[in-house]
């Protein structure tokens, strides 16, 4: 069949279509035993290759050709890449063992290398995918041969398959190294409060590209370590002697060098790294102009930061690097300070313990020296950089295990912000109007942010510092909140955009953030409850209720959920006052429509979830009227189209049902709400905008039906008491419900469905299947697309695949970025 289509390949007008067709054919998987097809594939491959060589001589510079080519020609290249990749991936096994075909195979690979050089992202991605699978495949075949002592292995010792691919892979290495993608993206954004924040983008196209390139390169490095090193060193010399010097080339090369961290044998890595750094230092000295020097410098620091293993093994070097970073924190050239802070925190996280130990030839741990000089080091930094710096130092302090020493460190660490804090508080106690001064407010915001960052890093021991400022902080919160409230009630909601008011809100938010952060990290719930909760209840919650809605911070709600999560059942007694303060007024805000106050919304329902989970007993004590409100709000929650809100709502509902089913008061609850809930559940199940949560819907419904079937509900559910049992009654009720909603369904269908609901409720997947079948039946009538009903399965599948992959990767040295790898420094 395909031999016919081959005749069209050399006709320009048809070649694109022909190639596409061939790609489809090549993608067909056959079992290796089926020789008949295998033969065909081999024939097809040789034919295509012969044709191809006539059309596109092997010596063609495809990169140039592509650049100057027409649309059609460019498409041809892309299709060719697709064909070759698909074919080789599926059927290379057939070609490899045949000595007479090896030459052809190498030619095909050569084409692919040439195509990889094309400056087009999509095409490159196609090739990359193939190279990745090839390299991984070769590595897995014989995982450890190169990591024993790569230098001793002569080329003859390579396994035959590697031998075959040897030259090609070397070319691929070169391509990978010279095209390395950007490892991280930093976005500088300005927040509502007018502050500059830098955010690291986690999941963009470019980063995914980097990830797969790094993976490929790491495999390639394992396959032949010496070659990778040669190529990189060669490239580096070309930077130094100027033949390939450009900012872009240098960056690319350094990203590549940084990407293979951990892939080499430790000694080789050290030797390689020393050479690289020396060359780059030489380059930095050689270049004139701050712009050039800054680029080289940040590349050096990038590489250094990528090799924590090396840093940990060489204290003196580590110290020199850190001192140099401190020096860069004073550099006025654009971006150098940011670079220095980013590298510093990277290093601090990975080498934290080394900074709190007394190192060889040192008098004291390095952390002490940093703290002695902290003022001088940060004096030229901008606020957001200071925050980063504090977080980094916090990680070091966190690594100090001796709590006495650690406490002293924390005290010293926070003394700079505390000095300013104290002086503000002192003035405020004399004259409260100080807290209406923009400058003071900004200072407070800055100090609290520093505290938050420090707390993130230090964790539970930060209690020392938090305790020091806690009461003052809560009082400041209260005063500011009243200021905001009165400002809003005088001049309307727009006033919150004013710098002063926005500044005050920042202070409030940061206060809450600090409390939340610490509570979530604390290891002592009793202490939280006894020392931190009472002032909070009094000032912050009371304030929340008294405030106008626009001045209520959604973070209050999340702080409460964090506390409840931490205290668990111990919080039972505190729930009534909390609910008193937060419940009704928040409900008022969110129940008017489905959009306003989105943050309050999610946080509110999340809070309900925490409370239900941990303090169910407290809910029982709520008066019926309020409880009704609670139930309504849950129903309200899962009807949201905001997916996260709906999900939380469903979770809360399931929790409630489960808790009530084992409680005596359950009966009364079910009598009041069961039918109602069931009706609402069916309405969301059949609503196409909620299909994403189908599993959860199924779980809840299954649970409800099983309750009925197993007669867990002792009191009759029907009001008229006609039915003999609850099960029968529900059966009738549901059937009726469906009949009225979907009159087009036949009685038999409905009956089967309802019956199924009862039979399958012990088996959630089957129950879900059943539910889905029913939904498809409804859809058939309304003509909707039933594809999205399967959405969740696909997502789960993808997740599972990703998880498997990570497991596999952890076993390959160097394949995980050193900064993503959990290790002993990070616990």
């Amino acid at each position: 069949v395909y031999i016919v289509s081959l005749q069209f390949l050399n006709v320009p007008a048809f070649r694109n279509v022909t190639l596409k067709c061939l790609t489809e054919v090549a993608g067909i998987q056959t079992s290796s035993t089926n020789t008949q097809y295998s033969e065909q594939f081999v024939v097809m491959f040789t034919l295509v290759m012969t044709q191809l060589k006539q059309m596109l001589p092997l010596a063609t510079n495809i990169r140039e050709a592509f650049k100057n080519g027409q649309d059609d020609e460019q498409n041809f290249i892309q299709n060719l890449a697709l064909f070759l990749c698909t074919f080789l991936k599926e059927h290379a096994v057939l070609i490899e063992p045949k000595p007479e075909l090896q030459n052809t195979l190498l030619e095909a690979l050569h084409y692919l290398v040439l195509i990889s050089e094309v400056d087009e992202k999509e095409i490159f991605k196609i090739c990359l995918e193939y190279w990745n699978s090839l390299a991984a495949d070769l590595y897995r075949e014989n995982p450890f041969s190169s990591s024993h002592s790569p230098m001793l292995l002569s080329q003859q010792n390579f396994p035959p398959r590697r031998q075959l691919y040897l030259t090609v892979l070397s070319k691929v290495r070169l391509v990978m190294i010279s095209r390395m993608a950007k490892p991280e993206e930093v976005l500088v954004i300005e927040t509502d409060q007018g502050e500059v924040v830098r955010e690291f983008m986690k999941d963009t196209d470019a980063i995914n590209m980097y990830k797969s390139m790094r993976e490929t390169l790491v495999y390639l490095t394992h396959l032949d370590y010496a070659d990778t090193e040669n190529i990189m060193t060669e490239k580096l010399y070309k930077q130094v002697d100027g033949t390939e010097w450009s900012w872009k080339n240098l960056n690319t090369l350094c990203w590549a060098i940084g990407s293979i961290s951990g892939a080499m044998h430790e000694d080789d890595e050290k030797r390689f790294l020393v050479t690289v750094i020396k060359e780059l230092l030489g380059l930095c000295e050689l270049k004139r102009g701050k712009d050039n020097k800054a680029i080289v410098a940040s590349n050096i620091m990038y590489i250094v930061g990528q090799y924590p293993r090396f840093l940990r093994a060489h204290w003196k070097f580590l110290k020199t690097v850190v001192n140099k970073l401190f020096e860069f924190m004073h550099e006025t050239h654009d971006g150098v300070q940011d670079m220095a802070c980013d590298t510093f925190i990277k290093i601090a996280q990975k080498c934290r313990r080394h900074f709190v130990q007394v190192q060889q030839l040192e008098v004291m741990p390095f952390i002490e020296e940093i703290l002695n000089h902290i003022r001088a080091i940060v004096c030229d930094l901008q606020p957001h950089q200071v925050h980063t710096f504090y977080e980094a130092v916090g990680y070091m302090i966190q690594a100090q295990m001796d709590s006495v020493v650690q406490e002293r460190l924390i005290e010293k660490y926070m003394s700079l912000p505390n000095d300013i804090w104290d002086s503000v508080i002192q003035r405020a106690t004399v004259d409260l109007t100080v807290l209406q001064d923009l400058d003071t407010i900004k200072q407070l915001g800055h100090i609290l942010k520093t505290n938050v960052k420090a707390c993130v890093a230090v964790g539970h021991p930060f209690v020392l510092q938090l305790g020091r400022i806690y009461l003052d902080m809560v009082n400041v919160y209260k005063v500011l909140s009243e200021n905001i409230s009165s400002a809003v009630s005088v001049s309307g909601e727009l006033v919150t955009k004013q710098p002063l008011i926005a500044g005050m809100r920042t202070v409030k938010k940061e206060t809450l953030k600090l409390i939340t952060c610490w509570v979530s990290k604390s290891q002592d719930p009793v202490m939280v409850r006894e020392h931190f909760l009472p002032p909070l209840l009094d000032a912050i919650l009371g304030d929340y209720r008294r405030n106008v809605p626009e001045a209520r911070e959604p973070e209050v709600l999340s702080t409460v959920s964090t506390i409840v999560d931490k205290l668990e059942a111990q919080a039972v007694d505190d729930i009534p006052p909390i609910m008193d303060a937060l419940f009704e007024c928040t409900l008022e805000m969110v129940s008017k429509n489905l959009e306003d106050f989105p943050e309050h919304r999610t946080n509110f329902f999340r809070m309900l979830q925490s409370v239900t989970q941990h303090c169910f007993a407290a809910l029982m004590k709520i008066p019926p009227a309020q409880f009704k409100l609670l139930m309504d709000s849950i129903v309200w929650a899962f009807k949201h189209t905001m997916r996260n809100v709906a999900e939380i709502g469903l979770n809360v509902l399931l929790l409630l049902l489960q808790k009530f089913s084992v409680d005596q008061v359950g009966t009364q609850f079910f009598q009041t709400y069961f039918i109602d809930l069931m009706q609402h559940m069916f309405s969301v199940v059949t609503d196409s905008s909620h299909t994403a949560s189908l599993t959860m819907h199924a779980t809840i419904l299954a649970f409800m039906f099983s309750l009925v079937e197993e007669d867990k509900i002792t009191a009759p559910l029907s009001t008229t008491a006609q039915a003999s049992s609850n099960a029968v009654y529900i059966q009738q009720y549901v059937a009726e419900l469906i009949n009225t909603a979907y009159p087009h369904l036949q009685d038999a269908q409905v009956k089967m469905f309802v019956g199924g609901l009862f039979h399958l409720n012990n088996n959630i997947p089957a129950f879900k299947e059943h539910l889905r079948d029913f939904l498809v039946q409804i859809k058939e009538y309304s003509g909707g697309n039933s594809e999205d009903l399967f959405l969740e399965e696909r997502e789960a599948q993808l997740k599972q695949a990703a998880k498997d992959k990570r497991q596999q990767q952890l076993a390959v040295p160097g394949i995980i970025n050193p900064h993503d790898r959990p290790d002993e420094m990070q616990e």
């Binding site: 750094i277 020097k293 020199t320």
Partner: protein, 372 residues
């Protein structure tokens, strides 16, 4: 590990290229630069040259201060700074002497950030000038954040060294608030150290007062003018609603080495100091105010004084200047060649001592010779 890497990393790796910048370790105390880049003797030469240059070239600063006060960006010919860092020092002379004026057409234009790098930055005091006692002043700098303060159009602004906005507030400086605003040309530009906890700007230097630039006046006059003007301006040194930050001028002392003389450096250093001391700044009496680094403003930490200037510093004074063993100065052995391997150990000992500042100058030189 091969120490030459460390050596290179610490010694020559920089973006700015100022060997004597105080953000790096003091050359004497890190014992690094002496091998390749002498650094010594060169500082004094640059000082001479700058003083000559000052005499021959006076700029019109009226327009310049207006631009800073208004905060507008402007374009300028590639000036001394670029030349200094891009071309070797010998070349600077003719380039900047022939100057921006002559070769105007050929020079590249460059945008000037109105607040970045506007302050005069010091270098480490490396070579003690021969006229140190007679022609230099000392100022004791408190710990704080260096900033550029501009009072103009009824408000006062503070910017950091790198030109980042710090703060905006009223002040009683001319032009700094509604009450002291008489004419739109009444602006002030000051070089200050901000001490946040006490909400005080310690005024280090004065560039412009009431619209009159004093960039091209010598330091002696600027210091006098600063004190007079601050004293004349009622309330500017006090905290008040209209003046939330106090402005206090920092005193200048003569560099006399006799502790008996009132107001001399030696006397100041023999007593305790009321504020936490960051370091000591020395100005040449006739230095003009120059933005960027200047060898006519030099810097030492208190504990270095006895080694470098040979003037004793009392314990009381050192206590006010928290003694930091200079983590910025990592004691490092220079690369050891096989021949000198035996000496390696001794050097190491020497250097550890040196880093703690216990070695006298002569001994430092000796080490220098052995290792080169």
């Amino acid at each position: 590990m091969d120490d030459s890497l460390l050596y290179q990393f610490q010694g020559f790796f920089s973006v700015g290229g100022d060997v004597n910048a105080p953000t790096r370790p003091h050359p004497t105390f890190s014992s690094l630069y002496k091998h390749k880049r002498a650094g010594y003797g060169e500082q004094e030469t640059r000082r001479r040259r700058l003083l000559d240059e000052q005499r021959s070239r006076r700029r019109d600063h009226a327009d310049y201060v207006r631009k800073i006060a208004e905060g507008e960006e402007w374009e300028e010919e590639m000036g001394e700074e670029e030349l200094e860092e891009d071309i070797d020092p010998d070349h600077v002379d003719d380039a900047s002497a022939a100057g921006a004026d002559v070769k105007e057409g050929e020079k590249k234009k460059r945008r000037v950030h109105p607040y970045r790098n506007q302050l005069m930055m010091s270098e480490w005091l490396v070579d003690v000038p021969p006229d140190f006692t007679d022609n230099w002043f000392m100022t004791v700098c408190p710990v704080g954040k260096r900033c550029l303060v501009i009072a103009n159009k009824r408000t006062t602004l503070a910017y950091s060294r790198i030109g980042a906005f710090i703060n905006c507030f009223p002040s009683l400086l001319p032009g700094g608030c509604r009450r002291t605003f008489y004419s739109p040309r009444d602006y002030c530009i000051l070089d200050c150290i901000l001490h946040s906890p006490s909400r005080t700007f310690f005024v280090l230097d004065l560039m412009c007062w009431g619209g009159h630039p004093v960039y091209d006046s010598d330091r002696e006059f600027r210091a006098f003018w600063l004190h007079t003007k601050i004293a004349e301006t009622k309330g500017v040194g006090e905290h008040a609603k209209i003046n939330p930050y106090a402005f206090k001028p920092l005193d200048s002392f003569s560099c006399g080495r006799d502790p008996g003389v009132e107001g001399s450096m030696a006397q100041v250093l023999s007593k305790s100091w009321p504020l936490e001391v960051d370091g000591l700044l020395f100005f040449h009496k006739s230095s003009h105010y120059k933005r960027g680094t200047s060898p006519l403003a030099v810097w030492l930490k208190a504990h270095m004084v006895s080694d470098i200037l040979g003037v004793p510093v009392a314990e009381e004074f050192l206590e006010c200047a928290p003694r930091m063993s200079d983590p910025l100065a990592t004691p490092l052995e220079p690369p050891i060649t096989p021949a000198s391997e035996k000496r390696g150990k001794e050097e190491e000992d020497c250097e550890t001592e040196m880093a703690s500042g216990a070695l006298m100058d002569s001994q430092v030189k000796e080490v220098d010779m052995t290792s080169s």
